[in-house]
Symmetry: C5
Subunit: 99 residues, 5 copies
């Protein structure tokens, strides 16, 4: 999984029928310091994530292991909203503080 | 999934029988600003995408979860045509406006 | 899938029994201009590709969706020989002309 | 699999139900010299790894082949704690010595 | 698949039970000239490869298609030992000569 921040939304009306009802969010991967790193990806939201939130997303076939995404042509899913993380015992991100 | 623009077409007559009847499109991944980023890939079109359109494509085993691509040696599929996307509340792309 | 040119052959006699009878080709990915880009990979040939030919190859589990490669430890397969491709309406490669 | 060092922990209370009870660790990939290389990833711990330990993690669908992670939206799992490794007959890392 | 040279061994006693009895080798990917390129990975040995040998390894779910690795949390497997390879009709590596 990767740490990322929700930075936007993608809207599509003409899509594969199995993608109906799913919400596409743009997420920007971040490094352990919370800084943007690498290219943004589009992930299906399975946990009700909102703009600006730090999340975890899973890719590949693992992105189809949520009830929402099962058997759908989805290769990235937000499966957790992050409360906090620490590196070497030091809190690097805490929800509500480092947003 | 990744945001990308359809930039071309690939034609093949000698191919795996399971790939018969599928349309191969060249797609150029773009960043949230809509600028080309990374290498183009060849994706099967599952939604009737046309040249110049912004799309979403899925990769890996997820690319085989459309009716068209099921059980075929296909590792990238266009599964949505993008209407618009926003970053931080600002529209970055709108179909018909930023084409 | 990726566009690539067949540049060589790999020979192995001591291999997993399930790889018996398969032909390993070295393929060099190319960009839409037909120029080498990225690292060569070794792909199993499922379509009778020859040296110098432009091909499409699929990776991951999708590489096991041909009759030849089913259930085998193969993560890249040549599943199409390319006749031509165009970008923005302009032919960039045509078999027999740009070889 | 990749060699990596456990550098931190990620906490999430709002997550996909299937991720309940799993521990997310931040791991930093290392090269054969034991130096950080590439971006950290978040992996589920299947072997009781602790901070600072050198581990092996597996990605993709293979990350779902442990009892803990089966059928869950998990794309990276720590499946081994490393005792030591050698390159060209020379020990490059030994647990308890190079920590 | 990728061409790589076996450069070392990784030892782990505390690991997922399904990884018991498997041998972890460090392999360094090489380019068609036989030179190191990219980061080393840890692969399970399914063919009895030895130090210094040139091999092919497969990744992802394809790494679980050997008898040894089936259903195990293994994402890279050595599935062939290379005798030789040629590029453009010229032998670039021959076992016993270019070791």
């Amino acid at each position: 999984m990767n740490l990322a921040r929700v930075i936007g939304t993608v809207v599509s009306t003409r899509k594969d029928p199995q993608m109906g009802g799913l919400k596409f969010l743009l997420v920007q991967p971040v490094n352990p310091e919370g800084q943007a790193q690498g290219n943004p990806v589009v992930a299906v939201d399975a946990v009700g994530a909102g703009p600006g939130e730090m999340i975890l997303y899973a890719t590949g076939s693992s992105a189809r292991q949520t009830i929402l995404t099962k058997d759908r042509p989805c290769d990235a899913v937000i499966m957790a909203i992050v409360d906090n993380w620490e590196v070497g015992g030091q809190i690097k991100y805490k929800k509500g503080v480092n947003d």
